[in-house]
């Protein structure tokens, strides 16, 4: 009952609490009547949930499964017998017998009026909008048979489109003020860039002093985009420039594809969540005109080699050499949203971050060096595109540090949604295609690289390798499935005991390798606060992903998103891993090859430091 920060934590991130029967929990049912049908529901169920459980459709707009309840768009209103006013179905908890009408005249009229009001304020036309066909306001208009603007329609822009950010574009003229982005930014992610400002009719969603997004402390996670019902938020789309590169015969255009888009892009073509489209996607990319199609999982494997080695080095320096300047736990650094988060909010803790670049950037550096040399292509003629589930990757490839090859290592970060659009534009229906493999030399990757897409995946991949390096044996989990790494609880912690170590790693004999996993920056904050309080002394390695669910829930992924959808996408990835022959990064033959041929001084060696590692910027929180 007491107001607690946790209570604003989105449902998807809360640990499941099952109340006992005597506490009015399970077993305590109440009968309600909805549209004349008698229905048993559990105490405290909202009217919306009760209706959904019974296939009664209630329109919603400000409601989102991931977010705390708002009850402010009012489109879901229903009539309850004996009450003077209509009630919002999304927020009204059923605690006693109610008689509910979801389609009475009052309800229909009110909903239609609300819709007409929203439409009157909604700038633009559907056919010139990128959310055409996937817009909740448009769907509502269709559902209610809107065929005109009852209360007029604004014809002039009132806001300028904010295109300052590499990652997120804001068009407030499309905003319906549902505050899903606000609740995402403040509650779900605890970044706090967006808030409702001003009052009354002048209310608007804005940044601090309405500054450009690029100037405030946005981490570019794009979670707001995924939850925007309309086109008020979108990713910064580079596809036009990519088409230009493809059409230019002088340019050698290569694309690397991350694991998560494969697990989700089918949704853009009407498939239910959970279908892996890896091979069809390769074919589609070739049809579109990419010269080479590579697998980001390859550099994910490389990341494991580098990051795993870095961890072992840190452990050795700290435990054997007693070097107190070495920071532990080591945090993963493959999530650019997380990297920017820690740069802003915990700038004094950057030494805890692994210096490894993300797989995307490792790939870019290798393509314009190693690949260019091996294939005799001038690096300036290579255009590298990265298909990513992520909007923050767009910012990442524009970081000035990311020029290790002497060029912009990755030219364009492209989201799953934008890729799907390119595929559609090319007249391709993805599910119809025959599959094909990746191109060499970065074609084959291990299952370890693949599972990077789900929260806990990097940790699992790293453990598969680190354990084996240290002990010479496989990590002791059935089928290599390190179950403590899996699942969706916000912060997870577990340990693996290192026993029977090889002579070189004797100092780790009997050590419990303690690790943590956090996803969503709100959870990252909890971990960081614990670190600041000095409570993580015995933890060695922490994986953090900025997005809820990890990359499969990234800001560039298909819309909509929900806990259920993210679970399905993760399953698709784990299933694919299970079917692969090579499932440990260090066993990927291409990895062995590149360390023999190019990165000849080994993981964390001189060459890899130049190409595959980076440094961070103390950004701080002050908004200039």
């Amino acid at each position: 009952m007491i107001k607690d920060k946790l209570s604003r934590t989105p449902v998807s991130q809360q640990p499941l609490i099952v109340k006992k029967e005597e506490e009015g929990g399970i077993g305590s049912f109440v009968e309600v009547e909805i549209n004349g049908r008698k229905i048993q529901v559990q105490m405290g169920t909202t009217i919306l949930e009760a209706c959904r459980q019974n296939n009664i459709h209630i329109p919603t707009l400000c409601y989102h499964e991931d977010l705390c309840l708002a009850g402010l768009c009012r489109i879901c209103v229903v009539e309850i017998e004996g009450m003077r006013t209509l009630q919002a179905a999304c927020t009204y908890p059923i605690t006693n017998k109610l008689k509910i009408q979801t389609t009475s005249e009052k309800v229909r009229k009110a909903r239609r009026h609300i819709l007409d009001l929203l439409l009157s304020e909604h700038y633009g036309e559907c056919y010139s909008c990128h959310r055409n066909g996937n817009c909740e306001l448009q769907s509502l208009a269709k559902e209610y048979g809107v065929d005109g603007y009852k209360f007029g329609h604004i014809t002039e822009r009132r806001h300028t489109v904010d295109r300052s950010s590499y990652s997120v574009i804001r068009d407030m003229d499309k905003c319906v003020l549902c505050k899903r982005c606000v609740r995402t930014c403040i509650d779900l992610q605890e970044v706090g860039v967006l808030e409702a400002t001003h009052r009354g009719y002048d209310t608007t969603i804005s940044t601090f002093y309405d500054k450009p997004l690029a100037d405030v402390i946005c981490i570019n996670c794009g979670q707001c985009i995924n939850r925007c019902p309309t086109a008020a938020l979108k990713a910064n789309d580079p596809s036009d420039e990519i088409w230009v590169a493809i059409d230019n015969p002088k340019k050698h255009v290569v694309i690397q594809t991350a694991p998560s888009p494969r697990a989700s892009i089918g949704e853009e073509f009407g498939l239910p969540p959970g279908h892996s489209m890896t091979k069809q996607l390769n074919t589609a990319l070739r049809w579109i005109g990419f010269d080479k199609v590579f697998d980001t999982n390859f550099t994910a494997d490389l990341t494991i080699m580098e990051e795993g080695t870095e961890l072992l080095n840190r452990l050795k320096k700290k435990l054997v050499e007693g070097d107190n300047n070495i920071k532990l736990p080591q945090f993963t650094s493959c999530s650019p949203g997380w990297v920017k988060y820690i740069e802003h909010f915990y700038p004094d803790y950057l030494d805890y971050l692994s210096t490894c670049k993300s797989p995307q950037q490792m790939f870019g550096a290798l393509i314009k060096t190693f690949y260019a040399q091996e294939n005799n292509i001038a690096p300036e003629d290579i255009v590298t595109v990265a298909l990513m589930p992520c909007s923050a990757k767009k910012f990442e490839c524009n970081r000035p540090e990311m020029h290790s090859s002497g060029f912009k290592d990755v030219d364009y970060g492209l989201t799953t949604r934008e890729m799907a659009q390119m595929i559609r534009e090319a007249g391709i229906n993805l599910p119809d295609l025959e599959g094909s493999g990746f191109d060499d030399p970065f074609g084959d990757a291990s299952g370890a690289g693949l599972i990077f897409g789900a929260t806990g995946g990097v940790m699992e991949a790293a453990l598969r390798t680190v354990y084996e390096i240290v002990t010479g044996r496989e990590v002791p989990f059935k089928n290599l499935e390190i179950t403590p790494c899996r699942g969706f609880e916000g912060v997870r912690q577990a340990s693996v005991k290192l026993e029977g170590t090889l002579p070189e790693w004797n100092f780790l004999e009997g050590v419990d390798l303690n690790f943590m996993i956090a996803h969503g920056t709100a959870n990252a904050k909890k971990v960081m606060e614990a670190l600041v309080r000095g409570e993580l002394e015995n933890i060695h390695f922490i994986e953090v992903m900025a997005c809820p669910g990890g990359c499969i829930g990234g800001g560039g992924q298909p819309i909509p998103t929900s806990p259920e959808i993210r679970k399905k996408r993760a399953e698709a990835i784990y299933n694919e891993d299970r079917g692969l022959e090579v499932r440990k990064s260090h066993q990927n033959p291409h990895i062995k090859y590149i360390y023999e041929k190019f990165l000849i001084d080994g993981p964390c060696g001189h060459i890899s430091h130049k190409l595959l590692h980076t440094h961070y910027v103390k950004r701080g929180k002050f908004i200039a």
Partner: protein, 157 residues
């Protein structure tokens, strides 16, 4: 803003945070005091307040823009708030407004060049039985006539 001025403001906000507590409930009292002392709440002050209360600057900004009595830009030392709601409106607040505007040579919504006066309309101030009414800072004036209003303004000059 000069660095020394910023330091002064930070210290001031810190002492207010100590006085009202470093929790979100302290936000409005702190904003009100800063408003009262400085006539506005600067961008820098908003960020500092956010810092001390461990909330996001945009949340402070959201609150400042919500309440009519909190302002983001410097205003006159005397803020004249003339009630524009019905009872005062029917009692001819227009005549009062015109008289004050002529006297100060600015329009409502503006501040005099010497930053002494700012003219604002406010919604019902609860003096409906004695309209037209206005506030000069926190002082209430009722039963205004154009002549009386101008005399009141003069007394602050």
């Amino acid at each position: 803003m000069l660095v020394s001025e910023k330091h002064g403001l930070t210290a001031e906000i810190e002492s207010l945070a100590e006085k009202y507590g470093r929790t979100r409930e302290a936000l409005l009292p702190i904003l009100q005091e800063i408003q009262m002392r400085h006539g506005y709440i600067s961008e820098f002050a908003q960020q500092e307040i956010a810092n001390f209360l461990d909330i996001h600057p945009v949340e402070v900004y959201g609150v400042v823009t919500f309440y009519a009595f909190l302002s983001r830009k410097p205003e006159g030392r005397y803020i004249v708030k003339l009630c524009q709601t019905i009872a005062c409106d029917l009692a001819d607040k227009e005549a009062i407004a015109r008289a004050i505007e002529r006297e100060l040579n600015i329009k409502f919504g503006e501040t005099t060049q010497d930053t002494k006066f700012t003219l604002q309309y406010i919604n019902c101030m609860g003096m409906c039985d004695q309209g037209p009414a206005m506030l000069v800072n926190d002082d209430v004036y009722t039963h205004l006539t154009p002549h009386k209003a101008v005399e009141i303004i003069k007394s602050y000059k």
